[in-house]
């Protein structure tokens, strides 16, 4: 293991310290819980948005704390859900009297900790609700889609839910539109090299020199099957066809596209993938609202990528195109 770290047991703390040191005007950490919060208060009292989860996914989760996105993120250990009490303290901090919505991914550890936090907060009279992303079609068949885990589709949930809160929607409206975005989001990914968890120093999975894992999870969880490496166009075709079929996406639908690198895959390859995605969408006459290509939700230094499509209606489109401003996710208002 050749990592630029000091002590493997404090990697998350030190990285968080370095993050806050880079953006001291934007974010700060609670004194008694590892929760990153926005430093500047919004201009009016709005519903608070909190997320959280295991570390190792930079820019998730902390990179999405900012204007038009989340107000707080509870930061767990590498790939482990943050403790319930931290989440609860985050909720308390960002509640402006309008309640707090929890936007997180479908992992049992996260669910249990967020739900315990919700109970703790509700006991103090804070209104709390949640939306859980479940976008990875590789993780469960469609008839049990409630079991699907979340991957990069969480980013779209944050973008939509965060913009909805920034517009001043109430907690129920935010839940509705963010749930609709989640319901209309599908992801599918592939991995080619494992990541190495600092605490163990070991690779998260094994693949032969010419093998890839179709449907890999964001923590190196095995996917649907191992296959021989194919051309970028072929792999993209396999992934996108499965995505298009799953919702299904149809002629004249408008979608947002997110091509997410898992960490070590060069951007160049992501663009080669986007080239083919664009071609296939054109073939099916599906319109693109916006395309995000880059590293939005990584898995340490894992190599591979995922494709995420979200079918948008007018409201979701408006929220996706709205301004966002966190240290790691900046978007000028595209509705103008």
């Amino acid at each position: 293991m050749k990592k630029f770290i000091n002590d493997p047991t404090v990697v998350v703390d030190e990285a968080l310290e370095g993050y806050v040191a880079a953006y001291p005007d934007s974010v700060e950490v609670l004194s008694d819980a590892r929760v990153l919060v926005r430093k500047k208060d919004p201009s009016f009292a709005k519903v608070g948005v909190i997320t959280g989860g295991g570390s190792g996914h930079k820019p998730a989760f902390l990179g999405y704390v900012g204007e038009g996105l989340c107000d707080a993120a509870a930061i767990g250990e590498i790939f482990a859900a943050p403790p319930a009490v931290w989440i609860y303290k985050g909720i308390k901090k960002i509640n402006m009297g309008k309640g707090v919505i929890c936007l997180y991914g479908n992992f049992s550890g996260d669910i249990m900790n967020f739900r315990m936090a919700k109970t703790l907060a509700e006991m103090e009279g804070i209104e709390v609700d949640e939306v859980i992303a479940k976008d990875d079609i590789a993780s469960s068949p469609k008839d049990t889609m409630e079991n699907r885990r979340a991957v990069a589709g969480e980013v779209i949930m944050w973008k939509v839910g965060g913009a909805a809160a920034a517009e001043g929607m109430n907690i129920k409206q935010i839940k509705d539109v963010a749930s609709r975005a989640v319901f209309n989001t599908r992801s599918f990914g592939v991995g080619s090299f494992p990541c190495i968890i600092p605490a163990t120093g070991k690779p998260s999975f094994k693949l032969e020199d010419d093998e890839i894992e179709i449907g890999i999870g964001h923590h190196g969880e095995p996917g649907i099957k191992k296959e021989k490496l194919k051309s970028a166009d072929e792999i993209t075709g396999v992934l996108l066809d499965a995505i298009l079929e799953d919702l299904p996406f149809k002629n004249n639908d408008t979608v947002s596209v997110l091509i997410n690198g898992l960490g070590a895959t060069p951007f160049q390859e992501l663009y080669i993938v986007n080239r083919k995605v664009t071609e296939i969408l054109q073939k099916y006459k599906i319109n693109k609202l916006i395309t995000y290509v880059g590293e939005y939700f990584t898995s340490l230094e894992m190599a591979g990528f995922s494709i995420t499509l979200t079918k948008v209606d007018d409201e979701i489109a408006r929220l996706i195109l709205a301004k966002a401003d966190s240290p790691m996710f900046k978007q000028f208002d595209l509705n103008k």
């Binding site: 047991t9 295991g54 767990g76 250990e77 590498i78 790939f79 482990a80 859900a81 943050p82 403790p83 319930a84 009490v85 931290w86 992992f107 049992s108 550890g109 249990m112 900790n113 739900r115 315990m116 993780s139 469960s140 079991n147 885990r149 968890i197 605490a199 163990t200 070991k202 998260s204 999870g217 923590h219 190196g220 969880e221 095995p222």
Partner: protein, 212 residues
């Protein structure tokens, strides 16, 4: 057999040591069909439990369990924070005020813990989780103490727990991370079932040491 508060504390401290000894094994098991962090999570938690117990002067066994549970709830996160942590707090609440423990108290402890775990995580026997170790243990122990003393009942129940743990090897996981693997989760022990067994086994060893 009656366990004193001091002995009870030692039992808990020994559990921390047993977890530490098995960190690598737990990590490897979790890496097979999970994300490879169970060992590290448990180590971090139980090291802190040890510290806090050693720093505490309480003679209340229930409080000791609450201390341990809160460490996990406050600091560990993951699945283990709410499951083991919530379970320990629940057990602590059930035993609050006690400074000695008979065989019924021990039943109360593990039954409360199991209940908390099942209600929070929603797992049933056969889902390939720690419930596959803990539920057979509690059931068997509850039956056994009708006729047997604590150590003998515990020994008998531990055999059921071990069977339960081993049974997870052939199960297709239905809950947690490993459930995403479908058929591919077969052929591997569940790591939570394994750590639960390590805890029970350590508990039992401490008891037998007390007898000598």
């Amino acid at each position: 057999m009656i366990i004193s508060a001091a002995d009870f504390k030692n039992i808990l401290l020994n559990i921390s040591d047993a977890i530490e000894k098995n960190v690598n094994y737990l990590t490897e098991l979790d890496a097979e069909i999970g994300d490879g962090d169970h060992g590290a999570n448990m180590e971090k938690g139980f090291k802190k439990i040890k510290q806090q117990l050693l720093a505490s002067e309480t003679q209340d066994g229930g409080e000791m369990l609450i201390i341990a549970g809160k460490v996990l709830l406050n600091e560990i996160g993951g699945a283990m924070g709410p499951l083991y942590g919530g379970g320990l707090v629940k057990a602590g609440v059930a035993l609050k005020g006690k400074s000695s423990f008979n065989k019924n108290d021990i039943l109360n402890l593990f039954a409360s813990m199991l209940e908390s775990i099942k209600s929070l995580g929603g797992a049933k026997i056969g889902d390939k989780t720690m419930v596959d170790t803990l539920e057979p243990f509690v059931t068997e122990y509850g039956k056994a103490i009708v006729e047997l003393e604590l150590p003998e009942a515990f020994e008998k129940a531990l055999i059921s727990a071990k069977k339960g743990m081993l049974s997870t090897k052939d199960i297709i996981s239905r809950i947690g991370r490993s459930s995403r693997l479908l058929e591919r989760s077969k052929g591997h022990l569940d790591v939570g079932a394994t750590s639960s067994y390590i805890i029970l086994e350590s508990f039992y060893k401490s008891i037998t040491l007390l007898l000598n």
